[in-house]
Each structure stands twice: as C-alpha cells, then as structure tokens.
Symmetry: C2
Subunit: 423 residues, 2 copies
C-alpha cells in the first residue's frame, strides 16, 4: 500500500482517472438509453468474444501468474488469480446469464395521479458511472462489466495489480466487442493499478463518478469509506454469529453451525462466533465443540480445553477454520453480544420457539437474520437474484446482497397539461 | 464559520457529540421496536406538550430574535427565525399529520419462497441514528423529530446558532413529552451549535451515526459531503431549467415559467434558467421576457436589452427574482445545456409534441423531470407524501423528495427448518 503524495506521477494518475471518468460519463448517457434487447445482444457478443479470445486472455494470465509466483505468492492466492479454459467458459456463461435477467431500467417503482391532474411516476434509471475496486480474481472484471452494462451504467474498474495483465486483456476483448456492436467502448475502462493512488482519485472524483463499490478486505473497505468524497457502498465485512437458543434442536444446530463455519471459511457469510444458551450449554457445548473439531475447526473460547478467547476473537473475522465460542445467559445476552461485536452482515438463531425467533429477527440489526438456516445463504444467487455485485453491510441505498436493481437510481417523471402551483 | 482545530474546546465538542450519538444508539434500539400505535400516541402527546409550552418556547424565541436583531440580521432571516402562536399551532399540527401517515417500518418490500423451502422477505427497518444539520428555521427541529420518531429513528439535531435558544426550548419540551410516555428522551437530542466543529464531529462519527442529512445552502452541503465519513444524503441544490420547446403552447409556457420562477424564488425548486428553442425564439423571447419582467424578474442573457450572462449565470442558483435566458438550437442543445449546468434537481419541458416530451424525460438526468408543469411541484407534500425531510439530489438511496420510507433501511429475514447450503 503506497500513501498517495502529490508527486508528478500521482498527478498523472489523477489525470488518467479523471479523463477515464469523463469518458465514462459520456458513454453513460448513451448506455442509459439502450433498449434491453440491445444490451442483451451486446452481452452475448461479449461472451462470444471472450470465448474467441481465450488464447490471448490465457497468455496474459500466464504472465500474471509467473510474476506472482516469482514474487512468492502462496498457492491459494495463485488459484484465485488463475484463469483456465473452463473458467473462461464459466465467465462467458455468466454474461449470458445476466443477459437473461430482467432489465431493472424503466421499471416503475410507484406512481399516482395527483388531485390537480398531474401524473407522477418514479422510474428506475441507471446510476451513471459506477466505480469498482476489487482484489485478485479476474472474473470480477467481467462480472462487474456485465452487471453494469445490463443496468445501463458505465464501469470504471480498478482491479489489483497482481491481475493487471489478465484484466487488461479481458477489458480489451470487452471493449472490442462493444465497438463491434456500435456501442461506446468507454462503457468499460480499466484504471491503473500500480499503486493505491488511482483508488484515491477514483473515490474523490466528485461530480464525475456516481458511486464506488469496494470489494475486498476490511482494510480496503475502511480506506475507501473513510477517504471517499463520492457515495460508496460498504461491502462484505462479515462477523457472523450463530446463536444456539435454549429451545434449539441440537441436530439442527450442529448441521447449521458446521455448514455456516466450514462451507467456505474465507467468505464474508461464514460464521465466526457461536453463542450457546446457558440453558443447554451442558449438553450443547461438548457436542458442538466435538462436531466443529471433527470438521477441522479450532474453537476459541473461555472454556477449559479451548484456545483462550480475547476481545479480538469476538471482534475479528477469522476467515479461516477458526471459530469463537461463548456461553450466553439468554436471548437478551445473545442480542447484546451481537449488537456489540457484529458487523451487521448475517446473524442466525437456531430455535424451535416461535417467540424467541420473532424476537431475535426483530431485535438483531443486520442485513440478514436467519432462523434455522445457515449463514451461508446470504448470497445474491441463493436469494434468487441471478447475480451479485457484492453484499452491502451499510444501511443506505442497499443492504445485503446487491444485484441489478441495486445498480440503479430513480427519477420522477411528471406529466401535466399546464399545471402551476398555487402560492 | 470556524475551521475546526484540535483545541481543548474542540475535543470537548467531540466528546459531547460522540456521547450524544452513543445515547442515541441506545435509544434507537428501543425506538426500532415500537408499534405504530405507541409512536402515534407519542406524536400527539408531543403536539399537546408544544401547545402547552407556547409561552416558554416564545420566550426563548424572543431572545434569539433580540440577539439576531442586535447583530444586524435582515428582516427576511428574522422572519425565518421567528415563532408565533400561529406558527407553533402549525408545528404541532404537523406532528399530528405525521402521526396520521402510514408507518414505513415493517413494510415487506419483496419476498419469496426459495426452491429449498427457505422463506425470505425484505422488510423496512429504521436507519437507526439520523443526524440532521440545518439552518435558521426552528420548525425544522420539530419536523425532523416527528419524521424520525415515526420511522423509528433517533434524531441528532444540529440547528443554527441563531436559533439555539428556540431549538433548546423545543427539544426540551419534546424530551419531556417522550419521558412522560415512557419513551427514551434520547430519541431527540440537540447538538451544540456555537461553531462548525459539532458538524464535523457529527459527520465523522463512523459507527455511531447511520446517516447525516444536511439541509441548507450549497456551502453547508458541499462541506458535509466532502468531509463526511458517515453516509450522507445531499439535498436541495437546485439549478432548475424550463425548456420552451418548438412545439410549446406559449400561453402555457408563460404561466409555467412565471410560476416556476416567482412562486417562491428562495427555494430549491425555483427555475433559474429558461431555455428557448430557436424555432420559436422570435415570438417567444420578447413575450416571455415581458412576462418575467412584469412579474418583477430581472432577466440575464446574451440578447440586447438584458443583463449580460456569464458562465456564473448558467451555473449558479440565484434564489432571487433573477433568471438566465438562453436561446438553444434544438432539444439536443437543451439537453446538453442541462447536462452541463444542471444540478440534477428538477427540469421542465413545455411542449405539445409527444416525441419531444418522451425524449426529454428519458435523456435528462434529474431527480424530477416535468412535462408541461411547473418546477415548483417537486415537493414531498405536492407528491402526496404528507411530509418532507428534504429533496435529495444524489442518486444513492433516495432521489427527489424524501419522506418516511426514505428514512428507513431494510433487513432480510429468512425462515427455515434446518437448511444448509451445499458446498
């Protein structure tokens, strides 16, 4: 991470970012007017172009991989960076899937006829210019382009430097496909990724960029939210809890807890703390610890035989096969713990008691609250959106999984025949 | 305006603001769970309390007025600051009106049953802690409280120093009324207003404040948006245009233009520029200039006999009986002018041509686009919302007049019976 300074090269980066944003704005005016049909045709053309350009993309990706290997990057990260023929097939069919989704633009959200005869309607319109800041995986480049195009937005993409060659190759292919369709190439642009300064200039380009969505670790997201002068959407920090209530079915608790923790420990909807009600602790604690440990999970907590837990254990996302365990007095104590340490992502209760379920869902303040279901379900695909641009953990604009409608704003359109407003 | 510095007193202000925000957060947990009935009863009780405390409020207001007069404040500002028995009656009935509006909390926005049997629903929930920064008029203090309470939010109010005594008296009355209803007083708190530092600390209280809504001049709004670390909603900067199209009925154009400019020149939905299509300029220009001048408006423009217009005339809000006039070649040129100089508030076209109306409404990027209607209609009351907390000119979260639903976020509630997600 390089602290931005007003060096000559930094001013160059600023000029590059602002120039890209201005071109994106011009493109966005055209994109906003496209019919669904034209956008869908372009998405299929982009998918075709990606398949046709496999060799070129794979060659660029091989260079990124080689540089990353030479730099000592560990295998899990290399895997995130790696493209294969099969992965490119998957990326292309992702574009076709987006083409099949309903177009959010033009949807009438609400409307009415006013007493004076004015007809008003609130209609979904594109946001305009959407900035995305993200890490390693090059597939995000194409996914973000697809969702932005379908929702009529121009995308300014700032991927990680480790994927610079892969991203450049992908964006070049997408831009060629747009140009062949007679659409503005500047619907998708890749910003420089050599240092952090392009992020800073992107998030401070007030009046040029309508929204920036950071996808990545807590460090990136905090920096973006703190330094941004354009609206941003905070995504993906998840310190999720599973609360095993006094009236829980322990078979169910066990399978939900193990699934919430181990399905994919590195993602934001994984469970990071299990809260066990004191009323069932004697039976539930040894059983759940046994199940977690059998699944390869290290349990941190204040009980004998566990790795001792500190405040960091309650606060942090492990994003690994670790979990914190706490015995709580009752539902109140569970809600208070979540209120204090949670990040407002996903919280789950396991219970057979209706009153407890209703109270937990009403009182817990999070993007998603699960009753008798795994935290892993907080996901755009799982919710039936067909796609996901990220999971918002803020309260403004969008909360939880974001897909196409979340990439739109609205506009009031008012039809009259000469109405004026009385003084 | 005092630049914030890390002086002892600034640290004190920070502590006061953060302490208030923490107490607001505690109160917000209770407010979020209140039934509509309890909230409505409290709103009526607050209205009763205001009526009963008229003398106290008027005495405090008289002090503010006296200080403002001594400081040489001009009469229009004094009038904005002034409370009277009738105005307090109006403020109290405003609270009763809010009590009569539908409660946005708990409204199910959408939902479905997933293939695996999970039932998901997206429900409106309060934002939590809402900060408001506003200028002179003390009625905003009560309005903001009422809308925040009805939508289940705690309000942190930062009014202007010129209204400090009036606001303190009003908030004291409201807090007493809440306490008498057994509700948390900290649902409404007044922040110090001696200098700008309380604004800075409010908008940087990440994790303590969910959203800040500035209401005031462009200077205040720009400062808030630029320095904020919590999400904000940009409001009220309106450089609105009326475009008189080639196919306009000139009688209609005249009445819409004069109403848009002169109804209340100091508010954000007033027209600041009239664009006249070249095709009708010969007839329309003298006629519309005549009508404007007859209504006391000074016309700025590039034509003989007018005050010469500069870029500032196209860019600025006059908020006075002034308007800029420009002859444009066609609809494209009108849209381009608006695109360059507009603030995305309200734009109007006067035309009898359907294609032109459709094109203008589709292409112009603004919170509200009017066809054959005055720009003055962009208003929460006029749109039938029953109330208004401000007019958003940003694209995220809310755009255009904001009322109760715009003071909410959402939460996904998921009911299952043991579902886990396959790997």
């Amino acid at each position: 991470m390089t602290a931005p300074t007003a060096t000559e090269s930094d001013r160059d980066v600023r000029a590059v970012v602002h120039d890209a944003a201005r071109r994106a704005r011009v493109a966005s005016r055209t994109l906003a007017q496209l019919t669904t049909q034209v956008k869908d045709t372009a998405l299929h053309a982009a998918a075709d172009a990606l398949l046709a350009a496999k060799d070129r993309v794979l060659a660029a990706n091989a260079e990124d991989i080689e540089i990353a290997k030479a730099g000592g990057t560990a295998e899990p990260l290399l895997d995130r960076l790696r493209l294969t023929e099969a992965r490119i097939d998957g990326i292309a069919s992702g574009l076709r899937q987006v083409a099949g989704l309903p177009d959010p633009v033009g949807v009438v959200v609400r409307g009415s006829a006013l007493p004076n005869g004015l007809e008003i309607k609130q209609v979904r319109v594109p946001l305009g210019v959407v900035g995305m800041v993200y890490e390693a995986r090059p597939n995000v480049t194409v996914d973000a382009f697809g969702l932005a195009l379908k929702s009529g937005n121009a995308a300014l993409l700032r991927g990680s430097s480790s994927a610079a060659r892969s991203n450049a190759a992908l964006v070049a292919v997408l831009r060629e496909a747009l140009a062949e369709q007679g659409l503005p190439e500047d619907a998708v642009q890749l910003l420089p990724s050599a240092d952090r300064s392009s992020v800073t200039h992107l998030i401070q380009a007030r009046g040029l960029v309508d929204v920036v969505i950071p996808r990545g670790g807590a460090g990136l997201i905090n920096a973006v939210v703190r330094d941004a002068q354009v609206p941003t959407i905070e995504t993906g920090t998840g310190n999720c809890h599973v609360y095993v209530h006094a009236a829980a079915d322990l078979d169910m608790a066990e399978s939900i807890l193990v699934n919430s923790k181990t399905r994919r420990p590195s993602v934001c909807n994984t469970a990071e703390t299990v809260l066990i009600d004191r009323a069932v602790a004697e039976v539930a604690v040894p059983r759940l610890i046994g199940a977690l440990e059998a699944a390869g999970v290290t349990v941190h907590g204040d009980l004998p035989g566990l790795v001792p837990a500190t405040d960091e254990d309650w606060a942090d996302e492990y994003l690994s096969l670790d979990i914190a365990l706490k015995v709580v007095d009752d539902l109140d104590a569970a809600v208070e713990h979540i209120d204090r340490w949670g990040t407002g992502h996903t919280e789950a209760i396991v219970t057979g008691d209706l009153r407890a379920a209703r109270e937990f869902t009403a009182r817990v303040d999070a993007a998603a609250v699960m009753v008798n279901a795994s935290t892993a379900f907080t996901d755009g695909e799982q919710f039936g959106f067909g796609a996901e641009i990220g999971i918002s953990t803020q309260k403004l604009h969008a909360r939880g999984p974001m897909a196409l409608p979340e990439l739109t704003s609205t506009k009031w359109i008012v039809w009259g025949d000469g109405q004026t407003r009385p003084v």
